[in-house]
Amino acid sequence: MSVYFPHTDSDIEQMLAFVGVPDTDALYSEVAPELKCGKLSLAPGLSESEVIARLKALAAENKTYNSVMRGGGAYRHYIPEIVNETASKSSFLTAYTPYQAEMAQGVLQAIFEYQTYIARITGMEVANASMYSAANAAAEACLQSFKPGFKILIAASIRPDTMAVLRTYLDGKNIEYEVLAAENGILEPETLVKSLSPKVCAVYAEQPAYSGGILDLKALTEAAHRVGAKFIAGGNPLAYALLPSPGEAGADIAVGDVQPFGLPTAFGGPYAGYYATTKAGVRKMPGRIVGETTDRLGRRAFVLTLQPREQHIKRERALSNICSNQALCALRASVYLAAMGGKGLRRVAENCYKAAHFALKEFEEAGLKRVYEADFFNEFVTLCPGKSDKIEKALAENGILSGLKLDGDTMLWAFTELNGAMDITLAARIMKEVI
């Protein structure tokens, strides 16, 4: 058994004597004997070397790939080592939520910088300290934008996991919503316009769409605003290094996940949802927020602010129940962005775009067909009737995780700066043989 409590037997004896009880059992005198459980049916504790051996064995039962062409909400990007190193600094890793500002300026400043990065990237004015995931951030944004008697419009072209989470949260509050058809894999402005009415309070769509397709955010936002509805832009923040940001498009809220910024795919988490909005929307922004102020000697200081919106003060009247967030993931995103810089980030985004477009060309030559016309960022859908399983298997045998099988015929491919031209050509060649 590994032991993490530092007491010697003699410490325990002295402490029991000081407390005035004969043994630790006596400390549970308030617990009725019939409520106590016997010995837990768990294995005996392991030594540290045994623990890591067991976990290594489990990890070895997972297959990792040299090359990953799958995304759908989780993307394998290059992570500079400084991101891992910084996030493992124990003063960050093992710190609590920075309620004691004097003892947590490092954490608070790092979050303030994160908020600034998110605001700049999304083009919004303010951002919070993080949410659980893109899907949860989207759900919160919809809940905050809802007005009784109104309904919310949701693009069918969003990630299916976000759609499922939205359904859960909106149904739970009996909020009316309507799903708008995805034509060409995206939400077209004309489709939105047809469904808009003064009874719509908010519209949610993602940039890019699940299919990878690029939306005309500006046209969508303008359409929503014409009937007085808020526009909530979900999306991959990396895309905004190339595409107009939600803020530039005039959106009211921007949500999504910072996973592409230095977070490993790690079987789905932890990642961090981001939530950004306009200055006017700040009081309806859930979650923790760091603000700048001065201390009693006039020095710049950072504190958690606007706390009355939160659960620990407003209880059942709080904006949201969120307490713990994904702070360390937000820190990773900040370190990543600091290391990459604007130019570096733009290059990553360009490489994503270029690799995906190069791949489409190669794959078309190999016999796959492009499904949607709309231009795309780093993901696209292909058609190859009846061949999805075969393609996945053949690529896996060559160390390549294929695109995601949407069904037996279609696949969703994703590319990042880690997919070189040679990998892509190899994948195309393998598929040509299969097809």
Binding site: L35, R54, A74, V107, K279, Q326, A327, S334, E350
Partner: protein, 471 residues
């Protein structure tokens, strides 16, 4: 300290080479170019190194933060989560490629079910509050399936703020249950409030006062007799794991905070993990997906009456790896001993702090609450002032002004990983602070003196709202 946005421009490391093939970039119509600081890696490293020196983690000193269970986070857990086979697997990879991950989730689930005395589990919750939301939705679905619309959730007035907030978010009405003289649930009030419209009572046990709710059997009977369910907020499980199982004491739904009880680090506010455990009769309502096994292979499945999806993928997987490593290391004995030691530490510190820091009589569980009301009435020194003075002594302050039912509250939770020597040092520092407070009350108002900032102006922060560098 300068912000990243105030540092001099330097040459960034070029981590990524340009794509080798010629692919034209169209005009995307982006009119406002993205501007981020351009910094060399050494500047970034020094920046964060400096920031980390003004942060304070469990590795930096005593952290007796009540209700937060700031125990030591074993390093091996981090190494386990960083294994390539866990870190570099895609959430949408074929199930046959991620058998190790699924097996880990399944194994952790079995262990947590055993520890809580429950029958089924979901790992979708990213944090405690998220777990509460999930648990309450399960309760709602259960009543709905029986053709009942129960609107009310009972919450003791000493409960964590997340309890009422989660209930409201799940579409319930919150009814507060007053405490009795010994800070337990007032049984008469409970009996009065329990009716056919009550969906559930949410409870932490031990309570937020650090006391075991000894009437738990009666409470369970009262709630169940009216068809309501009992919800366990696992924030305080560290006091009783291996000793009492919530499921054995009448709880139907339990959420756990792996970042408290099972030693995964808090990360400056997250990520945590809030798995939800339920009794067998509720298992069909769990959010999807859940991990199932035929004994050989593992896969995801959707429970038949699932409340739906509540998180993007499957929860905070890396956190689960760390908690699993912890449970493997401790085993059955270690888990019980951790709880017992946590309770011993709390009782030891509680007694060491008397009489200056008065608390409820008798034994406590893993935490205790002292009230500084007397001192405040005597010379105006508040719980806040004491907390701030602790910072100068290198001790993280306890939770302040919670629970709301105690005036000038300071809530201490030393956890089992604090040594006797450390507890002695904390007690000694607290005595010093107290005598300083008696001698020179006004000097307490300017503490801490040794930190990079002291007493930030929170009113100005809330009014001027500078929330980004650019705003």
């Amino acid at each position: 300290m300068k912000l990243l946005f105030e540092l001099e421009k330097s040459r960034p490391s070029e981590y990524v080479n340009a794509f080798t093939e010629d692919v034209a970039l169209p005009d995307f119509g982006k009119k406002i170019e993205l501007e981020l600081p351009e910094l060399s890696e050494v500047e970034v490293a020094r920046h964060y190194s400096a920031l980390s020196r003004t942060a304070f983690g469990v590795d930096d000193g005593a952290y007796p933060l009540g209700s937060c269970t700031m125990k030591y986070n074993p390093k091996i857990n981090e190494a386990a989560a960083a294994l390539e086979g866990f870190r570099d697997i895609h959430p949408l990879a074929p199930e046959k490629d991620v058998q190790g991950a699924l097996k880990l989730m399944y194994g952790l689930g079995e262990a947590l079910k055993e520890i809580t005395g429950t029958d089924a589990i979901s790992f979708a919750g990213a944090a405690g509050a998220h777990g509460e939301y999930i648990g309450l939705r399960i309760i709602k679905a259960y009543h709905a399936a029986r053709g009942e619309t129960r609107r009310k959730i009972l919450v003791p007035d000493s409960a964590h703020g997340t309890n009422p907030a989660s209930a409201a978010m799940a579409g319930f009405e919150v009814v507060n249950v007053p405490g009795d003289d010994s800070y337990g649930v007032d049984l008469d009030a409970l009996a009065r409030l329990c009716d056919e419209d009550v969906a559930a009572l949410m409870l932490t046990n031990p309570t937020t006062l650090g006391l075991f709710e000894k009437n738990i059997a009666k409470i369970a009977e009262t709630v169940h007799s009216k068809g309501g369910l009992l919800y366990y907020d696992g924030a305080n499980l560290n006091a009783v794991m291996g000793v009492v199982r919530p499921g054995d004491t009448g709880f139907d739904v339990v959420h756990l905070n792996l970042h408290k009880t099972f030693s995964t680090p808090h990360g400056g506010g997250g990520p945590g993990a809030g798995p939800v455990c339920v009794k067998a009769f509720l298992k069909d309502y769990l959010p999807y997906p859940v991990v199932v096994s035929d004994g050989k292979t593992y896969k995801f499945a959707a429970p038949p009456e699932s409340i739906g999806k509540v998180n993007a993928f499957y929860g905070n997987f890396s956190v689960l790896v760390k908690a699993y490593a912890y449970i493997l290391a401790l085993g059955a004995e270690g888990i019980r001993q951790s709880a017992e030691t946590a309770v011993l530490n709390a009782n030891y510190l509680k007694k060491k702090l008397q009489p200056e820091y008065p608390s409820a009589e008798g034994v406590c569980m893993h935490e205790f609450v002292v009230s500084m009301e007397k001192l405040k009435n005597l010379n105006g020194v508040t719980a806040l002032d004491i907390a701030k003075a602790m910072i100068d002594k290198g001790i993280h302050p306890p939770t302040m002004y919670f629970p709301l039912t105690v005036h000038e509250a300071l809530m201490f939770e030393p956890t089992e990983t604090e040594s006797k020597a450390s507890l002695d040092a904390v007690a000694e520092a607290m005595k010093q602070i107290y005598s300083e407070a008696l001698k020179d009350p006004s000097a307490m108002k300017t503490k801490p003196e040794t930190t990079v900032v002291s007493r930030p102006d929170e009113v100005a922060a809330a009014k001027a709202l500078k929330l980004t560098y650019d705003l």
